[in-house]
Subunit: 348 residues, 2 copies
């Protein structure tokens, strides 16, 4: 983590009241000037649940929107241990050498079953974290998947407005978070291990169907043959799936993030994928459909915040919860009662 | 499918207007008398989106609730081809012989990626379908997962009020529907194949964590050794997972639905599981927590229906969708605007 980011993180966690001084106008002017500190502060503002902060955050996003949309948005998933951060470190350096600037964020499932910390370990991606053209943002802890998703989508817009032309969104491939990441990226990359224990890799069929590219990691130090065999298996599996709406044929390649052998594969995939979807207009269509879905999800998220923050509605909500646990009302009746309270709120 | 169910299905699809004549009072009195036709009609009423039908359906569920909750609610999942319906047919006959009555329903993911028809094939489960003590209800087509989940939970209540003491909820283990099924059952059973192609079974790790029992299917005709090997692998995998809140240790057994060998395993599991969770009080706690979650989900579902059915709000919603695709508003601003329209609805 860079000094300025660290500073803003500390500032944000220890002195949250200072967020009140943040203003959409000022933050916007600093963000388009690529001020990393302002970007980090703006993300903290977005993550705040306070109504006042939300208002400034909305104003800021409206300002940033016309300056967004130019980056490659790339989702990266794979089970813990597959080598996601080593891969991101290797490919990230290559991308920066090619002149790109890179923003990396994560959707942390915060699973109540198994948990899992993404980008949480500050010693990971050391080299990247020290680079000026790389911005790394860990997931804010203690949020629901819906909340994290909302913040991440908004963070993508801020990072694009700040000029980052490649966005990585990382997730652990064990839950529903891959679907969420898939819904906000242009290209979905799946990392898989070759060799034994495939049944425990726990990658669900749905994820393979989402993949635009599969990398077989750790194809080094004697694993090359088994990686090549895995390549064939996954290629066969992909052939059995339906063709993609984009017209893109999903690719498979073995890769070593240590020897950096075959690292050109994903680079070539991205070059040709983005060339193709820009020419066909598919990229624009895909993003518009994603926006319509974000609309639905944002609405649910805002509604939940509204219920939590309006004193009378919150009281009603908590009363209904109590009645459900007492068995004096059904979840279905309670849902109706809550809806009626909200709809008639204006005339209460 | 039995004659009476068939009759009501035809009646429901071809003459939907006749639902208007259904009355919660009459349906309730027939359901508690175990009238299968009334049960089938009531489920069709629940699946209707009309406000008038919804009102009767709510009244019906309120009446049925005090008569519900006594059944074993069992979720069954596994990839297509694992042998779910053969297993359900075999175990279903055994359960009926033991004096149980069985209601079988499905959560169909209706995936827009790969689709999949559960209980759709009327030639499946022929023997069970002909039994008086078995009620089979296919998923209504063309619904979202949220809608199907809502209807299924309500159907469980109706079936319990009608005296069915075992409820099977089946799902295809390829998407998010397992999580939905897991959220509405007491015991979650996972069916797995042994042998080759494990990496393509596509069972995600999250599903194994949900399982209270795993059956290795098709342990017959020479597959016994590989099924026993798979048993050991899954037992080892389960030992690596966190202990269950229920205190239950997940079980694994090979099974043949053809030779009906080892069919006593799941029966013994259920007997001891339900004895244990009733004694410890965990069953009650689990169902109360599920109810609180149903409250949230029902609210979202009712809110979506409200938006679709209120003329002014629907118009606003469609205007906002148009603006998003035109790029003149952001999904985030649109969500705020929709929330404001709903909250101020009463005074418009």
């Amino acid at each position: 983590m860079n000094q300025d980011e660290k500073k803003y993180q500390e500032w944000a966690t220890r002195r949250k009241e200072h967020l009140d001084g943040l203003n959409a106008e000022i933050l916007f002017s600093k963000i388009v000037q690529k001020d990393r500190g302002a970007l980090a502060a703006a993300i903290t503002l977005i993550e705040s649940a306070k109504a006042k902060h939300r208002q400034e955050a909305n104003a800021l996003i409206s300002k940033c929107l016309p300056h967004s949309g130019k980056a490659w948005r790339i989702g990266i998933t794979g089970v813990p241990g597959v080598g996601k951060s080593t891969f991101i470190e290797a490919i990230g350096e290559t991308l920066v050498q090619r002149g790109h600037s890179l923003a990396i964020m994560a959707i942390d499932p915060s699973s109540n079953v198994s948990g899992g910390s993404i980008l949480g370990d500050k010693t990971r991606m050391e080299k990247l974290a020290a680079m000026d053209k790389v911005f790394i943002r860990p997931t804010a802890a203690g949020n629901t998947l819906g909340g994290v998703a909302q913040h991440t989508r908004e963070t993508v817009i801020l990072c694009e407005a700040a000029g980052y032309d490649i966005i990585f969104i990382e997730t652990v491939g064990v839950g529903q978070s891959e679907t969420v990441v898939h819904s906000m990226v242009d290209f979905f990359l799946l990392l898989m291990l070759s060799g034994a224990g495939d049944e425990l890799q726990g990658i669900k069929r749905g994820i393979m169907e989402m993949a635009d590219g599969i990398l077989i990691t750790k194809a080094d130090f004697g694993n090359e043959a088994s990686a090549n065999q895995a390549k064939k298996i996954y290629e066969n599996a992909l052939h059995l799936l339906q063709a993609k709406e984009s017209g893109w044929l999903p690719k498979v390649a073995p890769i070593s993030s240590i020897t950096r052998k075959d690292l050109h594969h994903p680079l070539q995939w991205w070059d040709s994928y983005f060339k193709m979807v820009r020419e066909t207009g598919y990229l624009e269509v895909k993003r518009k459909l994603q926006d319509l879905r974000f609309f639905e999800e944002s609405f649910q998220y805002r509604m939940a915040n509204f219920i939590a923050q309006d004193h009378n509605i919150r009281k009603k909500y908590e009363e209904l919860q109590l009645k459900i646990t007492e068995g004096t009302t059904s979840p279905y009746e309670a849902a109706d009662a809550l809806l009626k309270t909200i709809v008639h709120h204006g005339i209460l």
